[in-house]
Amino acid sequence: MTERIYVVFARKNREDPLHHVGSVHASDPELAKVYAWKTYDEERWFEMVVAPQDSFHPVNRSEIPFSIHRDPGSAEGA
């Protein structure tokens, strides 16, 4: 069982851009899809995709924090 980290991106509405929403561990892409869908079910997403974390290549910085797109101010009072 080779486990990988899959990064999860999703968007709520058709016109929205994809946002990074989190990540899951999974042994294959099929399981990653189910895990992502079930783990990040806080919205009724229009679209969700997953990709292995190691398939991303940093361009200007040295690491991929996967932190770029989600607006941290969009829900109050965590």
């Binding site: 989190g22 806080e42 040295s62 924090p65 829900a75 009072g77 965590a78």
Partner: protein, 312 residues
């Protein structure tokens, strides 16, 4: 690492700098962050077996769904904290499956058994309120970007748990009889648990790395007061007896006993007239409560089975 000195980083984060990667941290920052995330992850994780006890015997299909949804959320929140820790180089495998049960860092309240549906909803009303108080402060103030973003989901879901708790506490109290008695019984042991949840008072606590590095914004006493100001009026409104009251003159809730105090684990009852020192309270936490081992084992069952058959 070590792009900044501790003093430089403290100043930067107090001025709003958001840390986005390991090379922007100092050793001390990283250590404080790891401690914070471990407590957070363990608390979320151990709330799941605690809630599961009554959830699996919920009174109806609807309540089984709502309580199982809460458990799912908590497991998801634990996953978020452990994933963040993993990005900092801490093994999730170790955190979840290799520590001794007593090494988990969740509050002592989640080492207790919840005896029935009423206790589950009181836990949602009181303990999830404590979680929101703590994590809401982290969400607003943390200097660690990945955590700030992750807490968006957590905040949405924790508010649902809290509402679930409060709606059901009200419903059971209005029903009266056994339902109300069981809510009172739950509040009686969970309220002082919540008072302890926020730890040592400010005047006893030495310097605090989490505050200096802006991993949180409020002190223990401020957090406790925020929790009290929400929970005490709720209990008063529902005519539930608690050792605290709302003080109109001060405009805040006030606790009516010297805490911390002794706890009778077998009876799940606080001995409010038996004050102890904070050191004694920490010792009790460190010994962990009655359900600790069982709860930790319950989240490891399948992992152990898989290891056995995959290795065979």
């Amino acid at each position: 690492m070590a792009r900044f000195s501790d003093e430089e980083l403290k100043e930067k984060v107090q001025n709003g700098f958001i840390v986005e990667s390991e090379d922007e941290m100092t050793e001390a920052y990283k250590k404080a962050l790891i401690t914070q995330l471990t407590v957070q992850g363990d608390t979320e994780l151990m709330s799941a077996p605690s809630y599961y006890g009554p959830a699996k015997d919920a009174p109806s299909t609807n309540t089984m769904v709502s309580s199982m949804a809460i458990i799912q959320d908590e497991l998801g929140h634990a996953n978020i904290a452990y994933r963040l820790l993993e990005d900092l180089g801490v093994s999730r495998e170790y955190l979840l499956y290799e520590r001794q049960p007593h090494e988990f860092k969740h509050p002592y309240g989640f080492d207790q058994y919840l005896d029935n549906w009423a206790e589950l909803v009181v836990a949602n009303g009181l303990f999830d309120r404590a979680g929101i108080t703590l994590l809401g402060d982290v969400h607003r103030n943390t200097s660690y970007g990945p955590l700030k973003r992750a807490l968006v989901k957590v905040g949405l879901e924790e508010n649902f748990h809290l509402r679930h708790g409060e709606v059901w506490m009200r419903r059971l109290c209005e029903a009266g009889g056994e339902a109300r008695e069981k809510v009172q019984r739950g509040v009686s042991w969970m309220f002082p648990m919540g008072v302890e949840w926020f730890g040592m008072p400010d005047d006893k606590k030495r310097h605090n790395a989490q505050l200096d590095f802006r991993l949180k914004g409020m002190t223990n006493d401020q957090l406790r007061q925020t929790w009290l100001n929400a929970v005490v009026p709720l209990c008063e409104e529902l005519s539930l007896d608690i050792p605290a009251h709302w003080d109109d003159a001060e405009g805040r809730a006030v606790v009516d006993y010297e805490f911390p105090v002794n706890f009778d684990e077998a009876e799940k009852a606080w001995l409010l007239d038996e004050p102890i020192t904070w050191e004694q309270a920490f010792e009790r936490w460190k010994r962990r409560g009655p359900a600790n081992t069982e709860y930790v084992e319950s989240v490891r069952k399948g992992r152990i089975q898989m290891r056995e058959i995959a290795a065979a």
